[in-house]
């Protein structure tokens, strides 16, 4: 049975898999090329036209016109269904007919559907494609080939949109004119096999490919320095095309390896963003992809991460982890009751913000001026491109991880993003709270841009200069003292722990989860910068960990959360064994689940039998028949 086996690790739709069929096993991602490229682990040949190769092969059936009957050999990894050249230049109806012809032939032939890949014209409409996928699934087909013409225009975007419609357990091949810098992007977008033929196309045009550009080599004397084996050994007598082919392949291998490594370290998005500067068309391609298939990329982007998340340019503004954060804040965050002041503060380079020198001074100023009345203040940090951050959520990924270039100047888009976020955020507060904007420069521009959309009154504390200057801090202190009097703030117990845990629960699991996991009267104890335990009448429900700003559930906490009806995985049995739940045993899962989420595991009878951390998205748990779905933390014995 042709089967795609997924391995651990996520960073967007990119994955590491093994394609298995009988004794054949092909690991992905993988480059594919013609047999004239040396040392490839995967080649393509056209049936009846090229000699079959001893290397693992993708066998292409010639044109639909020819009706060549497919034959499977030991080295056949896939048979690509026949199509017509140039059909992408017609409309979607022509594409639909071409694909329907393919499924009809696959049904007619004596070879099982699992051997085939459908050959998808870029002109196919999404709705037709969904029907074709359904038919192909029934035939056992689990692979698809897409064309990219390399122009990075509408046709290539449509190919990516079509790719996003495939079930997760399909092997996906990108062919066409693909330059090295495009390889990580395609890998990021979930293409498992990438056509490296351009290495040869370029070599034959005497073009030496580099990471982000290329060079025409006419003589080795004037060529750029290159330390690769091929170029190092090049002599003026040898055939230049062969040397360039080897060099160009080095470039393909090295970019793919860079992408694989970046994925393993949660930095693939960063790599893709960096490479988008290869050309304006690459940049527009990534921006348009972010718009067109945002849901697809977001669905497989983990909600946790450890390293630094560099957000360097406009490509980051709508990166999935970033935009998701902004969207979730709007959808899931509810301010704690009883806040009388919203204090807007600038962000800091050091994360979490409260560990930074500037925020320590802000907090010191607040506490010195109004003391325990601090708990009546909602502290909100303004930042780009994440928008607004309530103090309670400052330790969550990617808030605790992001790093941005700081110049003090904000571009129009950054201001718009933050102002929109501030307007939405302020709508959640009662109209009589007072906004104290302790910000200057770009931050102040954000507040001014948002001003018209904010119903509450706003007091600015800084005339000019830095928010941490003596003058500014004095101004903040005196404003707070005035407000204490005007708004009749009074002392009381600090509510920061409960508020943090509730906001975190809401953010992780959706609105309402906070009150289930941290109900009124819960005992919370610990330090936010280390660990906070939440107990309800002596029963521990969850603990908050400073290292990722998230709640991890106990079994009892899991039972509480089950009332919420979200973040559940149902498995096909009664009692769960072992430390992992594998996708093969998953019957159903909440589609909201992303890699890294805290989830509860239900058995057939809908009882919570375990809690743990998801290793894949909800839909993947259902699509795949292998791979670890959940790493179990606690289970009912």
């Amino acid at each position: 049975m042709g089967k795609l086996m997924i391995q651990r690790g996520h960073d967007g739709p990119a994955r590491q898999c093994t394609w298995k069929r009988d004794s054949l096993s092909l690991s992905t991602p993988q480059l594919v090329g013609p047999t004239t490229i040396p040392d490839l682990a995967l080649v393509y040949v056209t049936a009846t036209r090229d000699e079959l190769s001893k290397t693992t092969s993708i066998v292409v059936l010639p044109s639909l016109i020819e009706n060549v009957v497919p034959v499977v050999t030991d080295t056949t990894a896939l048979i690509v269904a026949p199509t017509l050249a140039g059909i992408d230049g017609l409309d979607s109806e022509a594409a639909r007919l071409t694909l329907t012809a393919q499924t009809r032939l696959i049904r007619q032939w004596d070879v099982a559907g699992e051997h085939f890949a459908i050959h998808v014209p870029s002109s196919t409409s999404l709705s037709d494609f969904r029907d074709i996928i359904r038919t192909s699934q029934e035939l056992g087909v689990r692979a698809a080939v897409f064309h990219l013409d390399g122009s990075l225009g509408p046709r290539d975007l449509q190919a990516v949109s079509l790719r996003s419609q495939l079930p997760r357990n399909w092997l996906t091949v990108a062919t066409g004119k693909i330059q090295p810098a495009f390889v990580p992007v395609l890998y990021y977008l979930g293409f498992d096999i990438i056509d490296a033929s351009y290495a040869e196309t370029a070599a034959l045009a005497h073009r030496r490919l580099w990471r982000m550009e290329s060079e025409v080599v006419t003589s080795w004397d004037t060529a750029r320095y290159c330390g690769c084996h091929a170029c190092h050994d090049a002599t003026s007598e040898g055939p230049i095309e062969q040397t360039l082919l080897l060099h160009n392949m080095e470039m393909f291998h090295s970019l793919l390896s860079e992408a694989v490594h970046a994925r393993a370290h949660g930095r693939l998005r960063w790599l893709v963003e960096s490479l988008s500067h290869t050309s304006p068309s690459m940049a527009s391609f990534l921006r348009l992809v972010d718009k067109r298939v945002f849901d697809f990329i977001e669905e497989f982007t983990p909600t946790v991460g450890s390293g630094t998340v560099p957000l360097i340019g406009p490509e980051s503004y709508d990166a999935p982890a970033i935009k998701r954060w902004r969207d979730r804040l709007v959808a899931r965050y509810t301010p704690p009751e009883g806040k009388k002041i919203v204090l807007l503060l600038p962000c800091s380079a050091r994360k979490p913000y409260s560990d930074s020198r500037s925020h320590r001074r802000f907090i010191e100023t607040i506490e010195n001026s109004i003391g325990p009345a601090r708990h009546e203040i909602a502290e909100v940090i303004l930042t780009s491109p994440l928008g607004v951050i309530p103090r309670e959520l400052e330790r969550i990924y990617p808030i605790a991880n992001y790093d941005i270039p700081v110049t003090g100047d904000w571009d129009a888009e950054e201001i718009r993003i933050a102002a929109d976020a501030l307007v939405s955020h302020m709508k959640k507060f009662p109209p009589d709270v007072v906004v104290i904007a302790h910000v200057s420069g770009g931050y102040a521009q954000v507040v001014q841009a948002a001003q018209d959309g904010i119903a509450q009154s706003i007091i600015y504390t800084i005339r000019e200069g830095s928010a941490t200057s003596r003058e500014a801090l004095d101004s903040l202190a005196s404003t707070l003292r005035d407000m204490k009097e005007v708004l009749a703030l009074h002392g009381g117990r600090s509510t920061l722990l409960e508020e943090t845990l509730r906001a975190t629960a809401d953010f992780q699991f959706g609105p309402g989860a906070g009150m289930l996991l941290v109900p009124e009267g819960t005992s919370v104890s610990g330090k936010l910068y280390r660990r906070v335990i939440c107990r309800d009448h002596g029963t521990q429900l969850a603990s908050y960990l400073a290292e990722n700003g998230l709640l991890s559930l106990t079994l009892d906490g899991g039972c509480r959360l089950s009332e919420h009806g979200s973040y559940w995985v149902r498995f096909d049995g009664e009692v769960l064994q072992g430390g992992s739940l594998f996708a093969v045993a998953v019957k159903d899962a909440d589609e909201k689940i992303r890699p890294g989420d805290e989830v509860i595991i239900l058995n057939k009878s809908n009882e919570v039998v375990a809690v743990g951390r998801s290793e894949m998205s909800g839909r993947e748990m259902c699509d795949f028949t292998n791979g670890r779905a959940v790493s179990v933390r606690h289970r009912r014995k």
């Binding site: 056209t46 016109i65 230049g89 007919l97 064309h147 033929s197 034959l204």
Partner: protein
Amino acid sequence: MIDELTELSTHIQQMSLKSRGSSIAQRRRRDPRQPAAAWVTTARIGYDTGTAISIVLSTIGCSYARGPHGGCTMCSYLLDGTSTQVSADDLVSQFETAMTKVATTSSPLSVKIYTSGSFLDPAEVPPEARHRILSLIAADDRIVQVILESRPEYVTESVLAEIQKALGTRDVEIGIGLESANDTVRLMCINKGFTLKDFERVVSLARGYGIGTRAYVLIKPPFLTERDALFDAIDTMTTAARLGVTTISVNPVDIQRHTLVESLWNSGQYRPPWLWTVVQALHQARQEIPSNVVIVCDPVAAGKKRGTHNCGKCDKAIVSAIRKFSLSQDVKDLEGFTCDCLMKWEHSLVHEDLSKVPHDHQQ
């Protein structure tokens, strides 16, 4: 053909009509007494070399292209015609005007009559005009070879009898656009509207009247990769020879205005054939086909981006080799060429089968 391909044929026909747009309705009105074109070349006539005059009569144009089927996906020759019906008198004048170009040329002479449609279509060339032109040819002793062009549906017994009667022992060929021996390619990719059987019928019918047939073979119809096209052309040539045609005229596709091929080319989904493909097809077919069947090729717009072309460096030499071969029939004329772009062509033969995106597309 499986059902989907039949449906796709109908669909491609619609797309072809769409590409044509209003171009037919907007044709200019031409002087009805002037031929659309006429040119003189050196040509192979039987085993001799002589002079050939090609005459394109200006008519209202191909009925098939004007009709509801939209015509062939690569052809807009009818745009060379005029927008109104041309009278018999005018057509005869056109012929006479053209013939003045060879007024002083000596024998042997070959006359090729094209109409951007079918010379034997009574709706395009009134029978009276046909009779009179055939008589004029009959009266000219220098003319030893006559080539007329027609779609097969107009090649009837009575017309063949008329030609035989008028031209007697002269070497007469009827040129028919077979294009491809593959019915799917011809019907779906080219939208030609007739089958191999129809062609076969005409070849044997004409032979009965001592009239030869000249098969036009298209190199690289749309929806074929370069390698599909190479194989299709060779197969078509050998099939045509087997069916008994007397001459094979090889036509690499050129991008004509207001055609489906042009819209595919515009969107980067079609490239005219490489000259290497043409050379290889001629070379291989010549060796497989009996020597009494002549193979000729005079590529249109060769070396230009809209015509069959290579890299630009080798085009000129290869085109003249193809022309030389057409006269000599000697495959050696096609041999011994090399260029940097030869490997690019070999690479695209292999890669386009997988990626379907044409290499080296220029506009």
